[in-house]
Symmetry: C2
Subunit: 339 residues, 2 copies
DNA sequence: TTGAAAGCGCTAACAT
DNA sequence: ATGTTAGCGCTTTCAA
């Protein structure tokens, strides 16, 4: 059996309350007693039982992070940022994978028993639709990542997707490209990053007096690398000339890049390319990949801030949901080097 | 307040024990009562309080996974596999990052309060040295990943690094290469993957009657992509000709690939290249990267099996530590295509 | 400043 | 087949 408060109390010749006070730095304890208690704590190698503490306090010190898949670089790096930020605040992170937009898994996760284990959840939804919005009402603090489920009555962190999409597109135009293709669009969707980034794309074209051509727009369901390759083949098959490509994330961009090179199309001289997310790999691809940095550490910080304010009750339940936006920046690398 | 066992018991008109039995599927409960209890559970939306359950049972249902960094693709994919495997068994995973070989962080993590929150730990050590071995004696189930701390008295999962290193090297020789360079070596180390894979390399050269040339061996501390690039520049600067390269992991390989291409050296015709780890990105690089698949799902499964056997007491404490090895396989892609 | 005691929600030993 | 009850280790009134 491991050491308990009682053991320490007995050893130090004080009451269990005093030990508790010392351990938690609460209450008034005379320097002498504190000294004695700390000595006993060290000597007995006492460590508080977190289950008991949770049971009593109603807090676990654990927050959940639900993402589609850890093997997608974007989410791995996001999780990294969240764990880092949580640690600053003495919290620990439980990661749950929803396996790329599986609605059922997402719903189960929201209602599942694991919610009891966490003080709150940071959730990046993909499969749930607007009809499921009310399922988000889980009775414990929740912060959404991204623009999905726009009508949900919860705090969320997003980024300026429209502006970022426009800036990415503009960075291609600025180096003299006039036929800018885009892959990753979800034309039928009403909401989501795809819609917003596409809006930015359209907006930038318009601002620069360029024509929006449907045959330069490729829809892609999941933003995986393999789909980037597929989309690029489709685009090439259409035969419509283009001299630049905006890929809605880096995975798509790298998949597309691979196909462009197979076809002997040079990047950036024939086709300039910009991605989105600033995933590490883009720094080492050849050519290195220009991209949009979404400000992951800031996103992690904002999400945890919002969550903690609800957990701590600083923000009462009847305060309307808030939305925080991270600041992005364009990172120009070789794939958009002016010719 | 959320619903408790008592609430359900009262609502169903039975005792709390019966409810507990039903919820946990234990004991003999008549179909009728079970029915009634389940109805109440559903109606009251009862969910067991996991803190209370843990306090009572001494189990949390959480296992820890301590890895250097989630943003390294290998570890992200490993974590993915561990979470997946854990889920099969109703366990959940708490990820802790040791930030690439920081000994202090590793030691703190082993003794830290979070151990109280987990039933056991899967640990991939990097910073701790043999002098720290006894710190692994943490009094709760522990499984090591990899060959570090060889004298530790704990279960571990490894892979056949020597054989795999030899097989990788041999795959280069098999396509006619005779001057095989290697990057990632730790020549001064006594143990670790670097030593073993290097042994395999040496062994394969010998078996094929090839000369081991010191000037074709590049040491690299951390196996990051940037270091792969650096190592390749160093190798090229030496001026010693080579027609193949064994990189000790895929990150190194991709970093090296990038430099080779900058220098106009074609892969695979000028230099054939094989990495190690079978990270996703290798499938989409250009050329796609040949590699060694370490069998991640198997590693995850073995680690959790070992851990659970200790947790459940199936394996008693005085059973000597066991070592399980995953099976690897060589994956041949474009970077080792015969000319 | 310190102590005593109740009880968080659950499991399991024991009773019926 | 079902009920009673004693804690798990901690925090937190309430007393002293």
């Amino acid at each position: 059996m491991s050491t308990t408060l009682h053991d320490v109390a007995r050893h130090a010749g004080v009451s269990i309350k005093t030990v508790s006070n010392v351990v938690n730095g609460l209450g008034r304890v005379s320097a002498a007693t504190r000294e004695r208690v700390l000595a006993s704590v060290a000597q007995l190698d006492y460590r508080p039982n977190l289950s008991a503490r949770s049971l009593r306090s109603g807090r676990t010190g654990v927050i959940g992070l639900a993402i589609p898949e850890l093997s997608l670089a974007y989410f791995a790096q996001l999780a990294d940022a969240v764990i880092e930020e949580a640690e600053q605040r003495g919290l620990v992170v439980l990661i749950e994978q929803t396996r790329g937009g599986d609605r059922t898994r997402e719903v189960e996760l929201l209602r599942g028993p694991r919610r009891q284990l966490t003080d709150g959840l940071i959730f990046s939804p993909f499969g749930m639709t607007e009809a499921d919005t009310e399922l988000l009402d889980i009775g414990s603090p929740l912060v959404l990542l991204g623009e999905r489920l726009p009508d949900a009555n919860v705090d969320r962190v997003t980024m300026r997707n429209v502006e970022a999409g426009a800036a990415a597109t503009a960075s291609l135009v600025r180096i003299g490209r006039e036929r800018v293709a885009v892959i990753g669009a979800h034309l039928d969707a009403r909401m989501g990053s795809a819609v917003l980034r596409y809006d930015g794309y359209v907006q930038a074209l318009r601002e620069h007096g360029l024509e929006l051509r449907d045959d330069l727009v490729v829809e892609v369901d999941l933003w995986h690398r393999s789909n980037g390759a597929k989309a690029m083949r489709e685009l090439l098959a259409r035969g419509e000339p283009f001299d630049a490509l905006f890929a809605m994330n880096d995975e798509l961009a790298l998949g597309a890049l691979r196909v462009l090179q197979e076809e002997g199309i040079d990047v950036p001289s024939d086709v300039a390319l910009i991605g989105f997310d600033n995933v590490d790999e883009g720094r080492f691809s050849r050519p290195s990949l220009s991209t949009v940095d979404p400000g992951r550490p800031e996103i992690a910080k904002m999400a945890i801030d919002l969550l903690l304010e609800r957990i701590d009750g600083v923000t009462s339940d009847d305060v309307a949901p808030r939305e925080l936006q991270s600041t992005f920046r364009i990172i120009e690398r070789e794939s958009t080097q002016a010719a």
